[in-house]
Symmetry: C2
DNA sequence: TAGACTATGTTAACTTAGTCAACATTAATG
DNA sequence: CATTAATGTTGACTAAGTTAACATAGTCTA
């Protein structure tokens, strides 16, 4: 309980992650985070330059988590399902990662790296899956899959509208692999 | 130049639209909007309950714009391209509409209506396009298209990453219809 | 080991932004 | 014309990000 904390930076990130994960990034603010860590509001600024740095770090960890998890996946559809489940399991972290255009990723190389790794994963897996396909076709396909996976998460999360809340979305959610087969390799 | 303005509410919305469209919603704030309209900061509150109401109105207009435009489209792929182009032509309005989970649409029925209309459009068009398909398959397909269209806009906008900024994205952007044919009806 | 340099925390305060309350003025209505 | 409703303004409050000045702890070297 000294004046200096054990590993404050890590603590702050974890607290912020927890709040963001539970309540969305909008509910993460310096004063709240600091209070939970039992330090002054501004202690944060000894470890980060600005709040955006914290955001970037949360995003980076999100990608890291996705990238780790996918090592266990073998089928391609299972792969897509893995991404979708991440979006459903960590909805607010997911928002931060993909619903966000205002952060300049090039300012955060570590983040950019994880982000690229995530997409590369799709591409590699797809190459294995359809080895005979022309290089370009494979890449276009990968883009399409990436795109539709992310779009789908959005739909699955917004069950409020007339059309989406139909049986269909529930069916899709419970049959992700089959859905991906259907739509990707029809 | 009286104390009362001609149609202040409309003016405020238009100013906000312009700022948002040019610089993103983050750069829209009451003081700036009020200044451009040459009224006091708080005049806004005579016409809206809170800032979110303004956001909802911009979103609603975005959907309206999309829904109007699609009446001119006939081919199905052209239809998808129409959505994608909207995302590219009005990137920040698009962000507001689709990169946003924190607004409870059910609080804004007019907005919800336009939003539903947008999705219904996809569904109807698809039914026309593949009339022989089973009802459910059509709906699933519509969801997939909706999802991938939105995901694609995100990719097309983030040309910063290694993988995305490849030729592929440029090719897709210039050949939206072909891309949609390729990936949707392969 | 003393002194000095660096890292890490704290306090107070500044700034921007959303919003409200009290008051002022114009418009509308009986 | 008098009252009321609508619309604007001023001033102020609050929340939140951030900075500057100061304080303490840890480290490293003479």
């Amino acid at each position: 309980m000294g004046y200096h904390k054990e590993n404050l930076k890590e603590q702050l990130v974890e607290i912020a992650w927890d709040i963001c994960n539970a309540e969305s990034w909008q509910n993460v603010n310096m004063r709240k985070v600091a209070k939970k860590a039992k330090v002054s509001t501004t202690a944060f600024y000894r470890h980060f330059k600005k709040k955006d740095d914290l955001k970037a770090e949360l995003m980076r960890r999100g990608y890291e988590l996705i990238n780790e998890g996918r090592k266990d996946v073998d089928t391609f559809a299972g792969y897509g399902a893995h991404y979708i489940r991440f979006g459903l399991d960590y909805p607010f972290i997911y928002d931060l990662m993909f619903g966000n255009t205002d952060l300049d990723m090039s300012l955060y190389p570590d983040l950019e790296e994880q982000s690229n790794a995530a997409f590369d994963g799709v591409l590699e897996a797809l190459k294995d899956f359809m080895p005979d396909s022309a290089e370009k076709d494979t890449r276009i396909k990968a883009i399409n899959i990436w795109a539709s996976v992310h779009g789908l998460v959005g739909l699955l999360r917004n069950g409020d509208s007339h059309v989406y809340e139909s049986e269909d979305l529930k069916w899709i959610e419970n049959n992700l692999e089959e859905y991906l087969q259907m739509t990707t390799f029809s």
